[in-house]
């Protein structure tokens, strides 16, 4: 027996928590970079995978944009039924410019107190004219300017909140508003709103189902790519485990692979969507000219884009995790 004391140092590093955190962060950074670099070792295979993912993510995104645009073109708002209360025309031009507008504002505030009202907006006669100019296009400005006085009345736009009894609420509300002395008439199209609502709801449900299915597709495509990657790096995983790698450590590069695939696929999908909307704007121009009208294209909001990006990266993580948790722990040295 040997009496010399062991000279071996600690086999796990004795680091402060700050250093441990730094080591952990550095190791994650390294894994993230290595996983990303590995993607481009087989550029063609990666590109095919990414294109598949991009298409799967772009389809529901474009459908979402379609619903959003068509809704906006037909002035359908998901927030509720729109009602317009036209006010009596002012008796003189002076009145139209000054007190009338402040009275209208005050009236709008009173209307806002009525039950069932979700939102009000006072549109002065001047604003109404400006809006008409925008909708009618540049050609109309001369005609409008040639008018002796503004023919449009001021109005209050009322949004009636969604509810189970929308029809009765709307009718009751319309009667109440019409009874106000300042109001000339109230217009709304309940039937049209309900039809539009039904169609939009249907398309949204279809899109939800498509998103779920395509999301599952994203998870499966990424899972399969990760599975192939694990198989091709079997030796490396086994050696790492023999020198003391935990399952969590062995999983890490593949989780990053999944996240990169999801995130890159989403980025490509967003570029595709943007390109489609740009092309749409371009091809809409002759249509706008022919109808001498302005059609505003609704683009993807930054928030929605961020949600799509993060959701795809998360799906990538999930797809990778499902495969890893199964395959990596099964892979034990023999």
């Amino acid at each position: 027996m040997r009496d010399t004391p062991l000279k071996q140092g600690a086999t796990s590093p004795a680091l402060s928590w700050r250093d441990q955190l730094r080591v952990w962060r550095d190791s994650h950074r390294l894994f993230a970079k290595q996983s990303f670099d590995r993607l481009w070792e087989k550029p063609l295979a990666t590109l095919v995978t990414l294109t598949m993912l991009a298409i799967a993510i772009a389809l529901p995104t474009l459908l979402h944009l379609g619903v959003k645009n068509v809704s906006s073109w037909v002035s359908y708002s998901d927030s509720g039924l729109e009602m317009t209360a036209y006010l009596h025309m002012p008796t003189s031009q002076v009145q139209a410019n000054t007190d009338f507008n402040s009275e209208g504002q005050a009236l709008a505030l009173r209307v806002a107190q009525l039950s069932g009202v979700k939102q009000v907006e006072f549109i002065s006669a001047q604003d109404a004219l400006l809006r008409l100019e925008v909708i009618a296009g540049a050609g109309s400005i001369d005609i409008i300017d040639s008018l002796p006085a503004n023919p449009l009345p001021a109005a209050i736009r009322v949004v009636v909140g969604q509810g189970p009894e929308l029809a009765s609420t709307a009718n009751a509300l319309a009667q109440k508003i019409e009874a106000l002395p300042e109001v000339e008439s109230v217009r709304f199209n309940l039937e049209w709103f309900q039809k539009a609502q039904a169609i939009v709801q249907l398309v949204l449900r279809i899109n939800l189902a498509a998103s779920v299915l395509l999301g599952m597709g994203v998870v499966l495509v990424i899972g399969n790519t990760v599975r192939v990657s694990i198989a091709s790096r079997r030796e490396e995983i086994l050696v790492a485990k023999l020198v003391g790698a935990t399952n969590a450590y062995a999983r890490r590069p593949f989780l990053y692979l999944g996240v990169w695939l999801g995130a890159t696929g989403a980025a490509m999908a967003l570029i595709i969507s943007f390109a489609c909307m740009y092309a749409l704007t371009y091809y809409m121009k002759p249509l706008e000219a022919a109808y001498s009208t302005n059609i505003s294209i609704q683009h993807l909001s930054a928030n929605t884009a961020l949600v799509i990006f993060l959701a795809s990266a998360s799906l990538g993580w999930v797809g990778s995790w499902v495969i890893c948790s199964n395959q990596i722990s099964k892979l034990e040295p023999e």
């Binding site: 027996m1 040997r2 010399t4 004391p5 062991l6 000279k7 071996q8 140092g9 086999t11 796990s12 590093p13 680091l15 250093d19 441990q20 730094r22 080591v23 952990w24 550095d26 190791s27 030796e235 490396e236 086994l238 050696v239 790492a240 485990k241 023999l242 020198v243 003391g244 790698a245 935990t246 399952n247 969590a248 450590y249 034990e332 040295p333 023999e334």
Partner: protein, 238 residues
């Protein structure tokens, strides 16, 4: 340091190890011999927790391995260096990266990693080849990279499975001397080998396996006896 208590291992009805008991002291160096199929690799795998005993228990540092599970298996392996006959180096990484693997896995800081890897490579005389791919090295050099990787974490225990199996006698002697040096530095060493000529030259205990049973060198007190008897015994069994 390493203790086997009545350990048996059965593979699909076939007995690989039968009622094996021995104790390897801290800082001791011993050989594990026997012809192929005698259970040498199985015994080493039980220490690494690559395999589990069918009966009995294995203890390291007085602690039983029976209940070690999950990530604790990984932690146990960080305390045991392992040198393979086929060295298991990763061909897509250079020498430095191969040797650094155990440290990265254990969560060392990259500054410490560089320092320790160079120290380990220096010890095996390959410091100048850290940037090379293992494939460009000779068999002896590859084995030394494998040893550097096994000791880079300064594990208290070093196991070797036929470390000289693919090497000519001169290189084998060099590798054995290298392992012996680590033992001199206090590492507990168990080397599975059937290179009897090499064993005969070194003054260490031999655990002799035959059909899964130990037939010599089970206790330290056997040391002298087995060393004297070893050449005779072995020639009879192999």
């Amino acid at each position: 340091m390493i203790e086997f208590k009545s350990v048996s291992k059965v593979y699909r009805g076939q007995r690989a190890l039968a009622d094996l008991s021995f104790l390897l002291d801290r800082g001791e160096m011993a050989f594990l011999t026997g012809h192929s199929g005698a259970g040498k690799s199985t015994l080493l795998k039980l220490i690494m927790l690559i395999e589990r005993p069918s009966a009995g228990e294995v203890l390291i540092d007085g602690k039983t391995l029976t209940k070690v599970r999950g990530s604790n298996i990984a932690r146990l392996r960080r305390n045991i260096g392992f040198v393979y006959q086929s060295h298991h180096l990763l061909s897509d990484r250079n020498v430095f990266e191969n040797v650094a693997l155990p440290l990265m896995v254990a969560g060392f800081h990259h500054r410490d990693i560089a320092r320790r890897v160079r120290a380990a490579l220096d010890k095996v005389g390959l410091l100048s080849k850290e940037k090379q791919s293992p494939a460009t090295l000779s068999g002896g050099e590859q084995q030394r990279v494998g040893i550097a990787r096994a000791v880079v974490n300064k594990p208290p225990i070093l196991l070797a499975d036929e470390p000289t199996g693919n090497l000519d006698p001169q290189l084998s002697a060099e590798i054995m001397q290298l392992l012996h040096d680590f033992n001199n530095a206090g590492v507990t060493l168990l080397i599975a080998t059937h290179d009897l000529a090499l064993i005969a030259k070194m003054p260490h205990r031999s655990l002799i396996l035959r059909q899964g049973q130990l037939i010599g060198g089970t206790h330290l007190s056997d040391n002298v006896a087995s060393e004297r008897a070893a050449p005779v015994d072995l020639s009879g069994h192999l």
